[in-house]
């Protein structure tokens, strides 16, 4: 164990940064400091990763007594699962902050200022990291609830009209889940105290010998809280409202980082602390996950608000993650862990590009968009990459995880796999239909540009049947003038030549996400190296083994006369 | 020595009467008087118990109650005056804005 308490440093840097940023006098300075702090946190996160030994269980642990009477500790530690979540968090936050450099002021009300957005984002990062690192259940509970504070202010302070109500709804759901969780946390104390010295340390609790009913009741509390957080089918309605009203940056922090706490908790607490009860609850959870996959995808297809749509795709994805966790096979669980990382990258890219699109069009209503591709090809390309990641195209990282989950689900029961796999068709529909309506078509200014601008003089419009081409100039200008007032409401971003494409620095912000998606799509071994040892430990702790294949390799077959004849 | 029970009973009765007064009277000043009545009833019990136990602490407590009552009356009456100035009324029912 090294002398430097790396994990405490990892949590403390953004936390201190948040306070400093909140106290700074000028918004510009605050932005810069916040970005630097988040990059510093990234550095610390990388340092932690470098010291991590693959397959070494819980590492870099720090344990100090906090409330001795209840056996509560300030205990941090990192294992394979935590490490991936931590890295995801520290990577996403600088990207969100850099993205928000120019977007934080969007639609903010009296309750928010640019500076406070950055401060709250850093606070959220610190608390999320603490959640992923806590190895004491009580400490976990405390920071789990504490994440709601910055999240509430981020949702309520920044975004569209109606964000206040969305923030309250978010808070109600989360507090409701947290309340149930509190019940189980207290219950854990009771059983722990009955067994001897009370201790909230995760390692001690995992050793507890619980009665069947106690284990099931305790599991129920944890599971409900995490199902609200993740979210799964009946408890998902906060997600859509929140993502619709909040800024894309907030949504990234919320969906890609914060919601991971739900699935993280399922692995860390439900499975590790209550293995038998978890297996008992499997049919219910698997059913909910399947419903979420299909239901979320169908809902996403029916949405008109771009951000709401993106938010609801996550419902489907969280269904996949939960499914992978609860089918109890190494493919499923490694797949779920990878899915958490990949979903973080892919959905972040989708949210941020959608944010760019909305900024350029001044509306988030899909039915009022169209034709962006011609004017903003780079943005369209990134948007498409994000969409393809969402639909798990092979070659992008989500494919690997989704395939693993589908295989594991199929292994669990063939019809589970069959239901889950419909998600890939529905995903194609919502992603491509969204892309079609947002990006393709003649668009608001395309006709005018084709008639006038030199760049488009040789437009392929000429390849259209002749009847279209002849009246294009006159009809085109009329369309252009008619639609300009609506796009003009984009508050300066829309000039006379229409929405501008992404500028280099905006591309640079998104580039790491794209690079990550492609690299991990073709070479996900780094993730497997970290996740697999954890999954092996978990599987042996839970006491399950992978099903052996019906026909193992090396079976000798006589190659004559097989078949029905 | 004589029994102090009657004193305590008297104290209880006075206290109850004070309570009812607070609940039924609407003139703020009279309500205040009823509060004073309750305080005095308590004092009587304290003094009686001091005698019962042969211990002066009860008297000291009664003394402090008086001091605090004096302070309370000063502030309370000032508040009543201020309210009366602005609302032209000393009825506690008129100050009922803090409601649903």
């Amino acid at each position: 164990m090294s002398d430097v308490p790396w994990l405490t440093v990892l949590v403390a840097v953004p936390l201190v940064g948040a306070v400093v940023v909140a106290a700074l006098p000028r918004a510009e300075l605050a932005k810069l400091v916040a970005l630097l702090v988040s990059v510093l946190t990234l550095g610390v996160g990388v340092a932690v990763a470098l010291q991590y030994e693959l397959g070494g269980g819980m590492q870099l642990t720090e344990t100090h007594d906090w409330i001795a009477a209840f056996g509560v500790h300030y205990a941090l530690g990192v294992d394979g699962l935590s490490l991936l979540m931590v890295l995801l968090t520290v990577v996403l936050v600088p990207i969100v902050l850099a993205y928000s450099w120019t977007h934080a002021d969007e639609g903010r009300g009296a309750s928010g200022s640019t500076r406070s957005f950055f401060a709250w984002a850093l606070a959220l990062e610190a608390l999320s990291l603490a959640v992923f690192l806590a190895t004491d259940v009580f400490l976990f509970y405390v920071v789990f609830e504490a994440t709601l504070i910055p999240a509430y202010f981020l949702i309520g302070g920044f975004g569209k009209a109606g964000r206040g109500a969305a923030a309250v709804k978010f808070l109600m759901f989360q507090l409701g889940g947290g309340l149930v969780l509190l019940g189980s946390v207290i219950g854990l104390y009771v059983v722990s105290a009955q067994a001897g010295e009370p201790s909230y340390l995760h390692a001690d609790l995992a050793e507890l010998d619980l009665s069947t009913s106690a284990e099931r009741w305790l599991l129920a509390g944890f599971l409900i809280a995490f199902i609200v957080k993740a979210p799964l089918f009946p408890l998902h309605t906060w997600l859509a409202d929140t993502t619709e009203k909040a800024t894309p940056g907030t949504s990234v922090l919320l969906v890609c980082v914060l919601d991971k706490i739900g699935t993280y908790g399922m692995l860390r607490f439900c499975l590790e602390l209550f293995p038998e009860a978890s297996r008992w609850a499997t049919p219910l959870v698997v059913t909910l996950a399947l419903i979420s996959i299909v239901y979320g995808a169908l809902l996403a297809i029916g949405q008109d608000d771009l951000l709401r749509l993106v938010g609801l795709t996550s419902l489907s994805h969280f269904g996949f993650i939960t499914l992978g966790i609860f089918v109890f096979s190494s493919q499923g669980q490694s797949g779920a862990i990878l899915y958490m990382v990949n979903h973080g990258l892919g959905t972040a890219l989708l949210f941020l590009t959608a944010g760019h699109v909305i900024e350029r069009r001044g509306t988030s209503s899909i039915s009022r968009m169209g034709g962006m591709e011609k004017l903003t090809p780079v943005l369209a390309g990134l948007f498409l990459v994000a969409g393809l990641a969402t639909l798990s195209l092979p070659g992008l990282s989500p494919f690997v995880s989704e395939l693993l989950v589908i295989i594991a689900a199929f292994d669990y029961h063939w019809w589970v796999g069959a239901v889950a796999v419909t998600g890939i068709v529905l995903a194609a529909i919502y992603v491509l239909w969204m892309y079609q309506r947002v990006m393709t078509g003649p668009g608001p200014l395309a006709a005018g540009a084709a008639g006038g601008a030199g760049e488009h003089a040789d437009d392929p419009a000429r390849r259209e049947p002749a009847g279209h081409g002849t009246d294009a100039p006159t009809g085109g200008t009329a369309t252009a003038t008619a639609t300009r007032p609506t796009t003009g409401t984009t508050a300066g971003s829309s000039t006379a030549v229409g929405p501008r494409d992404l500028r280099p620095h905006e591309v640079a912000v998104l580039a790491p996400l794209v690079a990550g998606l492609v690299f991990l799509g073709f070479y996900p071994m780094p993730l497997f190296d970290v996740a697999n040892p954890y999954v092996e430990d978990l599987m042996s702790h839970v006491g399950v083994e992978d099903d052996a294949p019906a026909v193992p390799e090396g079976t000798t077959v006589e190659h004559a006369g097989e078949g029905a004849h | 020595m004589t029994d102090v029970t009657p004193y305590v009973v008297l104290s209880a009765i006075l206290f109850s009467i004070g309570c009812v007064g607070v609940l039924t009277r609407r003139n703020a000043i009279v309500v205040f008087m009823c509060v004073e009545l309750m305080l005095n009833a308590c004092n009587l019990a304290l003094v009686a118990f001091a005698k019962q136990h042969g211990n002066l602490d009860g008297q000291i407590a009664a003394f402090f109650v008086m001091v605090v009552a004096a302070a309370e009356v000063v502030v309370g009456l000032a508040i009543i005056m201020t309210i009366f100035r602005t609302r032209r009324s000393a009825s506690v029912d008129d100050a009922s804005l803090l409601k649903y």
Binding site: K169, M172, F173, F233, P234, T237, Y295, L298, L299, I301, G302, S330, G371, E373, K374, L391, L393, P394, G395, V400, L403, L404, I406, I407, F410, G417, A418, V421, V425, A428, L432, Q436, M439, T440, G441, P442, E455, P460, R463, A466, P524, M525, V535, D546, P549, A550, V551, P552, E553, G554, E558, H559, G563, A564, H565 | V22, L23, V92, S96, K99
Partner: protein, 644 residues
Amino acid sequence: MYSLSEAAHQVPVIDPSAADGTFSLLWLVIGLPLIGAAVLLLGGRATDRWGHWLGTLASVGSFVVSVLLFVELRGREEAERSVTQHLWDWIAVGDLEVGLDLLYDPLSALFLLLITGVGSLIHVYSIGYMEHDPRRRRFFAYLNLFVAAMLMLVLAENYVGLFLGWEGVGLASYLLIGFWQHKHSAAAAAKKAFVINRVGDIGMALAIALLFTTFGTTSFSAISEVSGAAEEDTLTAVGLLLLLAACGKSAQVPLQAWLLDAMEGPTPVSALIHAATMVTAGVYLVVRSNFIFELAPHAQTVVVVVATVTLLWGAVIGCAKDDIKKALAGSTMSQIGYMMLGAGLGVAGYAFAIFHLITHGFFKANMFLGAGSVMHGMNDDVDMRRYGALRHAMPVTFLTFAMGYLAIIGFPGFSGFWSKDKIIETALAENWVVGVLALLGAGITGFYMTRLMLLTFLTSKRWKDDVHPHESPAVMTVPLIVLAALSVLGGVLLLGDWIVEWLAPVVGEAPHHEPPLPIIVITLLTVAVVAVGVAAAWFLVGRREVPLTPPQDVSFATRAARADVYGDAINDVLVVRPGAATVRGITAGDRTLVDGLFTGGSSGVKAVGNVLRRLQNGFVRSYALSVLGGVLLVVLALLAVNLA
């Protein structure tokens, strides 16, 4: 109905050796076009000027490597003609270990040549065809991406790797169909193609899952070794799932609806993707999975049924289309039906399926590019009713197109004659119903292709005077000439049953099987049926005046054919409309019912609060009364506790 050959035959085991020497260049085949695509996509406008050259160069380079590899492979012993190259570990969890592995064997070797060869020609052609498009660089990037993905598909050593290529070509197809995104129809067609392909992917994903649970691996070589030990039901299920995937990619009924719409893409795309290569991936999949299908006769039966239906379905559509590209697309669908039929016939048909696939790649690419050349000269008009007598205006196009035409109808001596004949022959040998239907299909092919030929190049001039048909530049005609030559000469592959023997290590060798009729009779019969079709077209189309607008008072069959045999209508009624209704219902239900759980709860709390807040009446004396009540309760409780 259909029965597998009684004779015992052997499912060949894929037993590759590690790549060395020239074969270590295998990755380069995929790498070159991939690098080309990456450079062109990331390079932005800086690469606009020379992008198309880079793209073409990458494809040609890939072709050169393919040829080198092919020569090397031919030099080897028959048993050693299977090489694998492990690039890196891709997925490794528990028992599931998937490497990014490449498998180079006689089957992939042929595909490599076809893809890179035809692909390179189409690249060259596109330089001319897309010359005036401001986004030509992107077009070439997408083409390169497609070539790389298609090569990945045919080189993959396991089903997951194949899936990677499978989806990669789907993506490239999506991008290229929707290349002119400003047209709503193009964007919609692209989406439709991708979504229908995704339906097929359900089969692929589930097949991979089932293969893994059954065999614990997804590698071709490992599965082929032990496939005989699996239960037949399992293998049938795998076969059907793979067939579903193949139906999506190869536009087989019932997932055929996207192919006609896909003609929205630029014509070289139609030639490369929707005629020569990608759409035949389904055939490749079935042939590659021969170790499954051979042991799952029921699955094979379904393949044959699907193939037969499709070959007629596509042929019927091809008869009624006035859009030259759509007529060709219908023909493609039909021809892939032939290939599928061949693949479904088992060991006897695999080699011929691949043979027809290759010759079809030549002549159909040739004809699509010819159609593109025609459109190029006709101001992008695609309506054949406004063509006519173009043989004078564009002689090279006409001649090359004619070669393709003769090849597809199976004119004796041309490549299509050899390949299609063999499939019909085998079909007749295996099951006479299927054989007769395939024969009928050949006749219809003769009809619709003759009709197309007549409408376009022969008959009388019907184009307006402001259209000036002209021959295309050399950069476009040279590929046409090369492909025409290949269309004519493709039959040489069958010389001495070369292709059958070449593929034998992969697909096995069929025992000699006597057809019900002498081969020469079958051949003559086929030629006769085709001749009837050609003659019918001559009498119905060639000898009459062609109206500029299609006549409306036509038979039900024609109307059905014009409506793609109601493929879209069926999808609409069965899937789209119920789906849309479901989505609407769920969207509304989510807002009301599911969210109602929350909003209902909160309004319940609010209602209770509304009642309870009445207690806060503002009267201090009321509050004091409550306090007194509370005091009484507390005192009583204390007394009760103390007295109890």
